[in-house]
């Protein structure tokens, strides 16, 4: 098959740098790439792409909103242009939208920041050696493994007026009523569920930092904090950024926790996903799709900004990786070189065994 041809060429792309990019663009590679990527793309287009397109189309239509004189709903849908969108921004609905927009943003910022801080702290602590840390690692994964359906119920029960949370605190906080306490309960539950995920990724990042780096820092007399800021953080940053990016995508779409824990139509915790759900639940599919579309755009913008500002190594790194090997390392790259090299050595050595077999 033609597969062998392009791959065999690879040594060339590897050694030549910038110019290679153009020359390696032969028809075979492109075709092979298209072939190999097609399963992924077909699945994504069929099951996500098409429904997204259908929803985008739906957002321009309205249906089932009028009743004829004998009391029946008039069937069929009607093209209304951007009416569903303009309706969202006008009057009371507008206030509601911006409130939900604010809540969504606030949840995302608060949860992701907390999860990151907690996750990093968890990772740092677990990075220390002690007996039984296998158990610890497994236990931090428990919150992550409990189905959301069940954990939302669990937290609802915990936060009831006579629940264990109030019992332990010795208070009578009405968690599900409007106000800061309902926001807090959602943040607590969400942080609990996902901080371990970030913690684990960061721990993983930490463990690739070779001891030599720390020892060097110690010889330099670096203090704990400056070791953390100048050595540890830059090294775990790529792992952290992937985790944080996917957490942002998830939290912007947050639905279950505020919906189950606090309930629908509660101003304090109403998010954009909840608005989209409530509209669909009232069989107003056009407006529901319009809300979903707006949220989609918002998520995309946030992700884009995030990647542009912080995450060149997350997103663009398919392209930007080469400079590293090239030795043209920038400041940041320079710091990453040590672990990368160490890892390369490691994989190479253990790979010898595997490959030789």
């Amino acid at each position: 098959m033609s597969t062998s041809a392009p791959v065999a060429e690879r040594p060339t792309p590897e050694t030549t740098k910038r110019p290679k990019r153009r020359s390696s663009f032969n028809e075979g590679t492109g075709r092979l790439a298209a072939l190999l990527l097609s399963p992924t793309m077909i699945v994504l287009i069929l099951v996500v792409g098409l429904p997204i397109l259908a929803a985008l189309r739906e957002s321009l239509y309205q249906s089932g909103q009028r009743i004829d004189e004998s009391g029946f709903v008039i069937q069929g849908s009607e093209f209304v242009g951007l009416d569903n969108f303009t309706a969202i921004f006008s009057g009371e609905t507008g206030d509601r939208f911006w409130n939900a927009f604010y809540n969504t943003t606030f949840f995302t910022v608060a949860c992701v920041v907390l999860e990151t801080v907690l996750g990093v702290a968890m990772a740092l602590v677990m990075h220390k050696a002690f007996k039984g840390r296998a158990i610890v690692r497994a236990s931090i994964l428990v919150p992550w493994a409990i189905p959301t359906v069940v954990s939302a119920l669990l937290w609802k029960w915990i936060f009831q007026a006579d629940g264990i949370a109030n019992d332990l605190l010795g208070t009578q906080i009405l968690w599900s009523t409007e106000g800061w306490q309902s926001v807090l309960s959602v943040i607590i539950a969400d942080t609990w569920k996902t901080a371990p995920f970030i913690g684990l990724l960061v721990l993983a990042g930490l463990q690739t930092i070779p001891d030599e780096v720390y020892e060097a820092a110690k010889v330099d007399g670096a203090r704990v904090w400056s070791t953390f800021v100048h050595i540890t953080m830059p090294l775990v940053k790529p792992a952290l950024l992937v985790a944080v990016l996917f957490r942002i995508l998830d939290t912007l779409r947050i639905f279950d926790l505020p919906f189950v824990l606090v309930g629908p139509n509660k101003e304090s915790v109403e998010t954009l996903s909840i608005l989209a759900y409530l509209e669909a639940n009232q069989t107003r599919y056009g407006p529901a799709a319009a809300y979903a579309t707006l949220l989609f755009i918002y998520v995309a913008v946030v992700a884009y900004v995030f990647v542009k500002l912080l995450g060149a190594d997350v997103f663009g790194d398919a392209i930007q990786r080469k400079p590293k090997k090239n030795g043209r390392s920038g400041r940041r790259r320079g710091k990453q070189e040590a672990p990368a090299a160490a890892l390369a050595g490691l994989t190479a050595s253990s790979g010898g065994g595997g490959g030789g077999a």
């Binding site: 075709r31 009028r66 009391g71 599900s176």
Partner: protein
């Protein structure tokens, strides 16, 4: 490179083309309505064979027995139960989604009474010819009313539900007072009971005041019990009245004065039951299901044997319950509608309803069962419950019931939590409902 590009282009073009085909078919489903007239006229209940019964709650597993009884008598028209989630919202969503896709997966639908109008108006359920259901006259009239939309029958009520006032008979007896019949009596009774040393810190009253369907129920009861209406007999909202204001004010004052404990704003049925069972409430508005659970003598209920039930009190006279319950309807898109109709007759028959209440304690719709001596012995609350259901008010029978109930909850919750005055809340609600109901 050029090749690659053209190849990519071709691929893109192909993908887009096939997406469009799929998209067109994906979207086409909902647009060709209007042809669904057949069957709505009533009388066209044809076809026999296996059917599916979509329902949310097989409580205590008794539904299996009921269906097994049918299946043994009708081997060629077997009924399969399609179980839906416990959450009412999700049940409705699944039924709607099937209807919109014109799926015949569900034949008989177990509808909450408040969904009936929506399902009828959208022609998701078949109109039923009343002459084919001879026993309708033997059902409680208020329950039968919930199964109609614009005076036409779309379903048959199989279970009902009405609010009851649970009270601590031990404490009332000690304080020397009789069960209250009005809100004012309830207030003074509670003061008397609180004078007792053992009941100093007891909460007086709670219903369901969390922002959900239960709040609509409790708000409507407060308004109706004060002589007001939410939606009048003419089908027009009329909630901005002195009577309605008096009813709502009783609740808001209750919260202000501590007659209703603060925590009650978070109560759905279960947290309220818990507070009552723990002995923290003197009066509690809830459904019949609480009776058996609060009476358990295994130590789980602290008030077993110490409580009784009465009809709901109104503001100045007898109260008005809000009607609950479930109606069975036939999906417009079902096959074997004749079998479906027979199954509904079977399930709503006196024999099956008796079997059902014996096992599940769900309130029947068959009037004579309430006067049955054996059943009354087993369920001492049947007499007050019958009174409750007979005098009960339906919630508004409107197509966009979801919007109506949301508006009611919004207004009531605002007034109860003090963010709006009861007067403003009702005025706002009247405006909202007028927009929603006349559309």
């Amino acid at each position: 490179m050029r090749f690659e590009r053209s190849h990519t282009r071709k691929a893109v073009a192909l993908t887009v083309a096939s997406s469009l085909v799929l998209l067109a078919s994906a979207c086409g489903g909902g647009d060709d309505g209007g042809s669904g007239d057949s069957g709505s006229s009533g009388g066209a209940l044809e076809g026999r064979g296996p059917i599916t019964f979509a329902t949310g709650k097989d409580t205590s597993g008794n539904l299996t027995n009921q269906v097994a009884a049918w299946n043994s008598q009708h081997p060629d028209e077997k009924v399969t139960v399609a179980e839906l989630p416990e959450s009412a919202d999700q049940q409705r969503a699944q039924m709607i989604s099937n209807a919109q896709n014109k799926s015949d997966a569900f034949s008989v639908l177990n509808l909450d009474v408040v969904w009936t109008a929506e399902f009828a108006a959208n022609r998701w359920v078949t109109q039923l010819p009343e002459d084919q259901f001879p026993d309708l006259g033997k059902l409680l009239p208020s329950t039968l009313d919930t199964a109609k939309y614009r005076d036409k029958l779309y379903a048959v009520p199989v279970t009902s539900d009405g609010g009851l006032l649970y009270y601590r008979k031990d404490l009332l007896a000690k304080a020397g007072v009789k069960p209250p019949t009005t809100w004012a009596e309830m207030v003074t009774d509670c003061q008397k009971v609180k004078a007792l040393p053992e009941a100093k810190s007891i909460g007086c009253y709670a219903g369901q005041f969390e922002k959900y369907e239960g709040l609509t129920v409790n708000f409507s009861e407060a308004v109706n019990g004060a002589g007001g209406v939410v939606v009048g007999k003419d089908g027009k909202p009329n909630v901005d009245t002195p009577e309605a204001l008096a009813g709502l004010t009783a609740l808001t004052e209750g919260f202000k004065t501590g007659f209703i404990p603060k925590a009650a704003i978070t109560y759905q049925e279960e947290p309220g039951r818990r507070a009552f069972q723990e002995g923290n409430l003197l009066f509690h508005r809830n459904w019949p299901y609480v009776y058996a659970l609060a009476g358990k003598t295994d130590g789980s209920s602290k008030i077993a044997g110490k409580f009784a039930v009465a009809p709901l009190p109104g503001l100045k006279g007898p109260g008005v319950s809000t009607l609950g319950g479930h109606n069975y309807a036939i999906s417009e898109f079902a096959k074997n509608k004749a079998t479906a109709a027979d199954f509904i007759k079977f399930m709503s028959s006196e024999e099956r309803q008796r079997a059902n209440i014996e096992k599940t304690s769900q309130a029947p719709t068959w009037a004579s069962l309430y006067d049955d001596a054996a059943l009354n012995k087993q369920f001492p609350y049947l007499a007050p419950l019958k009174a409750s259901i007979e005098g009960a008010q339906s919630r508004p029978k409107v197509v966009k019931y979801g919007d109506v109930t949301t508006a009611i909850q919004e207004a009531a919750y605002g007034a109860l939590t003090g963010t709006t005055t009861p007067k403003d809340a009702l005025a706002g609600l009247q405006t909202k409902l007028s927009q929603l109901i006349t559309q």
